[in-house]
Amino acid sequence: MRRHSSYWAFAVHRASGLLLGIFLPIHLWVLSTIITGASDSSGSLDWANNPWVKFGEGGVAMLLAAHLTGGLRLLAIEFLPWGDWQKTAIAVACGVSLMIALSYLLRAF
């Protein structure tokens, strides 16, 4: 019952939303500690240079992109006339999310 592209699009949208809800507060908290210099700032920057952290941030960018494109897909379904372009839209959404995440990673390293 769930093996079709629209269901996958829904699942990715839901999972990325939930994960963003968990990771974004952590991400913002780290940023704020760096900016306000509440902790030893050089230590935090070291931490931020850790490749794993960069990968993690790339992941957050990926989640954001997936959630954004998933939301645009829903808006398109609901506000544009129904068409057979939807599968293409899902593929484009996946591609765009991946590109955004990769370009982010490329810049990070």
Binding site: M1, H4, F10, I77
Partner: protein
């Protein structure tokens, strides 16, 4: 009889609690899943309960879960759904089981009422026929949804229905979409108000299982999207 000519069928027996019981049924060309169930009841166990009426895909009463997916059984060929020589048959999901393959359809139909999925007009038989142009945009929209046979396959396929028991479901919402596009219906506002909620069209997550499973090839997901659009516009205009 060689192995390949026999189907191993496991059928849900009992009510909410019950178990799958195995039957061996001779296999034929052009055999439908309903033929298999009928064979079991006529030749192996007359106490098996199931529903059917027309056997030609019109009445919508024969739906059940076949190898994990909801299907109308009178027009589903064994050839196309059997997993090798195995068939698993159970009652439709999302509706209470009465016995064996029979579910209680009451919630399904009361939700049609709750969605105001019925024609509302003050017209009488004395009035002249309404003239609806077959090529008008509204009529074309309604056309796409009116062949529903109330089989509840979409309702069983929908995850939102299983997560939110009060959700009206694709069939009822599809029906409302046809009424919103019916130029003769005099209470578009009442229909819209009945579906403009989280239990109505706004609860749909666009998973589109209804579209994937509708045996009539209808697209309730498109109807629900149309309802969301109409509700949004009505809300912007302050009509809701």
């Amino acid at each position: 009889m060689t192995k390949a000519q026999v189907l191993d069928v496991s059928v849900w027996r009992g009510g909410v609690s019950g178990e799958f019981v195995a039957y061996r049924v001779p296999r034929h060309d052009n055999q439908t899943v309903l033929d298999v169930v009928t064979y079991i009841q006529r030749h192996l166990d007359p106490t098996l309960s199931y529903r059917f009426a027309c056997r030609v895909g019109v009445c919508g009463s024969c739906a059940m879960t076949v190898n994990g997916s909801p299907k109308w059984t009178c027009r589903t060929h064994v050839e196309r759904v059997a997993n090798g020589h195995r068939l698993s048959l159970s009652p439709l999901r999302n509706l209470p089981v009465i016995k064996d393959l029979v579910v209680d359809m009451r919630t399904f139909f009361t939700k049609w009422r709750r969605a105001r999925g019925y024609f509302i007009s003050a017209g009488t038989r004395e009035d002249a026929f309404a003239r609806v142009r077959p090529d008008s945009a509204q009529r074309r929209q309604a056309d796409k949804g009116i062949e529903c046979i109330n089989c509840a396959v979409c309702y069983a396929a929908c995850d939102v229905v299983s997560w939110k028991p009060d959700y009206l479901g694709p069939a009822a919402l599809n029906r409302v979409w046809t009424l919103i596009n019916d130029a003769r219906d005099e209470h578009r506002d009442l229909h819209l108000a009945a579906v403009a909620s989280d239990d109505g069209c706004l609860g749909c997550h666009g998973q589109q299982a209804c579209l994937q499973h509708c045996p009539m090839g209808l697209n309730p997901a498109a109807g629900i999207a149309g309802l969301k659009r109409t509700v949004a516009l009505a809300a912007l205009r302050g009509e809701l």
